[in-house]
């Protein structure tokens, strides 16, 4: 165990998996950086520095800088996967799914099904997501509701360095296409990370706080906010189960349903826009399958139905805050 940033934890997972399996390749824009330039190579290691150092070790056959052509990046990953490699494609910002959705939704996600189960498409698409950096409407979206809705994809949404490392390793070894979403505002977040090979299974959520009054499900960056609220309210005697699903597809329904069976109250914190969100999704699963345990309305705490704004003062109210989470928890406590 060592304390590392999420950036370094992800980088480590890439190193370990690439050393372990020669079929793993990395491709994307500036994944090394400096190709065709007059200065040094591996100048960037991705705009967030996550792939730094891979190029010097693995060379240009396995660390592939590409033109700005996201459809061709994912398409090439798909084809390479069908032909036996295990590509990890980087789409710099998750918002750019707009220019490559087809290769994700209609190709990667559907090959196995449409082709009668006769192939695997083991790609990982790494994308930086989320607000918190004042990057405005086209560089701040969470897109996990969209990809969670697509059958054939798996979706990982790590909230801390250890999970990021373990989930990415699992994603790379998984034979299904995985969308791996790295929250930009968590890259520099530090935490204990197990050394060496480390795997976190998909579809297994983690309960990061235990309580009896309210189930607080939170995604990615929101997990930390939920924990803060849980810790604060615990001092008052209101205790929460804080559940981090870690993957939204597959989703650990059981963990959530069991918790709700104990608490009878559910608040879901999702940085996405509200409509057809993962918050809505989890709410509907519980309203169907654990209805009889519910003592209070299910409260989703999400961003508003608006694009992500630029100004600090606006983004601050856009992103669900600990204050809003706390208010939601108090309201379900009051309701029943």
């Amino acid at each position: 165990m060592a304390v590392k940033t999420m950036r370094d934890a992800i980088n480590e997972a890439l190193f370990i998996e690439m050393r372990r399996d020669g079929r793993v390749i990395v491709l994307g824009e500036d994944v090394s950086g400096g190709a065709g330039g007059t200065g040094i190579r591996d100048a960037a290691g991705g705009v967030f520095g996550v792939t730094k150092g891979l190029f010097p070790e693995f060379g240009e056959d396995r660390v592939i800088d590409t033109p700005i052509s996201e459809s061709a990046i994912i398409g090439a990953a798909n084809g390479a996967a069908l032909a036996g490699l295990r590509p990890v494609a980087e789409i710099m910002f998750a918002d750019f799914i707009g220019v490559c959705l087809d290769q994700i939704m209609n190709q990667a996600a559907k090959f196995r099904y449409m082709f009668g189960g006769k192939c695997v498409t083991p790609i990982v698409v790494r994308m930086a997501m989320g607000a918190g950096m004042n990057a405005a409407g086209q560089h701040s979206q969470t897109i996990y509701p969209m990809v969670t809705s697509i059958p054939g994809l798996k979706v990982a949404v790590p909230s801390n360095p250890a999970d990021a490392k373990g989930l990415l390793a699992t994603a790379i070894r998984d034979d299904d296409p995985v969308i791996f979403l790295e929250h930009k505002a968590l890259y520099s977040r530090k935490g204990e990370v197990p050394d060496g090979e480390y795997l976190v299974p998909f579809g297994v959520g983690s309960t990061t706080r235990e309580g009896k009054d309210v189930t607080l499900v939170a995604i990615a960056r929101m997990v930390g906010f939920a924990e803060r609220v849980a810790d604060k309210l615990a001092a008052e005697g209101i205790t929460c189960d804080v559940i981090d699903p870690r993957t939204t597809s597959p989703l650990d329904e059981e963990l959530i349903l069991e918790s709700v069976a104990n608490t009878g109250r559910l608040v879901i914190v999702d940085e996405s826009n509200p409509r057809c969100s993962v918050a809505a999704d989890i709410s509907s699963i519980v309203a169907e399958k654990a209805f009889s345990y519910l003592k209070a309305p299910i409260i989703p705490v999400t961003a508003p139905h608006s694009p992500v704004p630029f100004a600090r003062e606006l983004e601050r109210v856009y992103v669900p805050s600990p204050e809003r989470i706390e208010a939601a928890v108090r309201s379900v406590m009051k309701a029943g």
């Binding site: 398409g75 090439a76 084809g79 996967a81 032909a83 099904y113 009668g116 006769k118």
Partner: protein
């Protein structure tokens, strides 16, 4: 390069297989037994076969919505394909893909594809894998005149050049993109020049002449396989049936298809060329025709009689594990 007897016979059989497969589907389609959209390849056989006769089993192709011809040419199993088009349990894709998604990875067929232009970037990836594995493989994507205007195809061309992968872009101009003439959608005065300008050689072919396609494809594939990066082939061909089954083709001049069928047909041309040059015996070709007809007949009979996919398979193979 001259083909030997058995190569020519094989090529002829492949073309005939495609032709009879499609002509029969056209007839069967009217019975209402075949579901969904079916896009037939009749008329274009020389292209698929001319290309694929240059490929090894371990090479990859990726097709389009008009996929039967490419699939058969690359070695797709005809009876299993027929079952698939009929939506049967034992179809190539277990009845889940149908005409538009026929695939056989084992044979290097990465599938027909319902999204125009989607195949080219995927083939870039398959070619990239061959390059990285250094196994001498190549990957081919087929691209219609209409598809040639889709952004993904342009991206794929550039990416293939940048990564210098053994990828062949097989452009097939059959004159129409659905109901729209090829030269309406392609703004460029010279599409060959447009392809070349991306930085790859283009080998042109006459789509009505199998030998011409075969030679252009050979050169392109040799070029790519030798590590020079991607190459393209381009030529003109025609389709005999509507864009999809049911299309009355009133955007084409009266008699246009008839003219192609009688004056330019690639199979008539093949027969004439090989018999005029006394390379093959007409009786041999007739024998192939008879054999192929029987195979198609049997495939249809089997497909019709075959069981449908069990309902519970609707959720099968979405994932390897979930």
């Amino acid at each position: 390069m001259q083909l030997n007897r058995s190569e020519m016979l094989r090529a002829y059989r492949q073309m005939r297989l495609i032709r009879e497969f499609e002509e029969r589907l056209h007839i069967e389609n009217r019975t209402g037994e075949i579901a969904g959209f079916t896009h037939l390849y009749s008329g274009q056989e020389a292209v698929a076969v001319g290309v694929c006769e240059n490929l090894n089993k371990s090479d990859f192709i990726i097709s389009t919505h008009r996929g039967h011809g490419h699939c058969i040419a690359k070695g797709g199993d005809v009876p299993s394909m027929m079952m698939e088009i009929y939506g049967r349990r034992d179809g190539l894709c277990k009845g889940r893909g149908g005409s538009m998604h026929i695939a056989d990875i084992e044979q290097g067929i990465l599938g027909a594809n319902g999204i125009v232009g989607a195949g080219s970037p995927i083939a870039v990836g398959a070619a990239l894998a061959a390059k990285i594995k250094k196994n001498g493989g190549v990957a081919v994507s087929f691209i219609g005149d209409g598809a040639s205007n889709q952004g993904t195809v342009f991206e794929a061309m550039n990416m293939a050049v940048v990564l210098k992968v053994p990828k062949i872009f097989a452009f097939e101009n059959n004159g129409y993109s659905e109901h729209t003439g090829a030269h309406y959608g392609i703004g460029a005065p010279d599409i060959v020049q447009r392809i070349k300008s991306f930085g790859m050689p283009v080998f042109e072919y006459d789509g009505f002449d199998f030998f011409s396609v075969h030679e252009a494809a050979r050169q392109a594939i040799d070029y790519a396989r030798s590590g020079n990066g991607p190459a393209a082939i381009y030529g003109v061909t025609t389709r005999y049936f509507g864009h999809f089954e049911g299309d009355p083709q009133n955007y084409r001049a009266k008699g246009e298809v008839e003219m192609f069928r009688t004056e330019k047909d690639c199979m008539l041309r093949f027969r004439k060329m090989v018999s005029d040059a006394q390379l093959l015996d007409v009786a041999e070709l007739d024998g192939i025709d008879t054999e192929v007809l029987a195979l198609i007949e049997q495939s249809v009979v089997n497909a019709k009689a075959a069981p449908p996919p069990p309902p519970e398979t609707v959720t099968q193979d979405v994932y390897v594990s979930y």
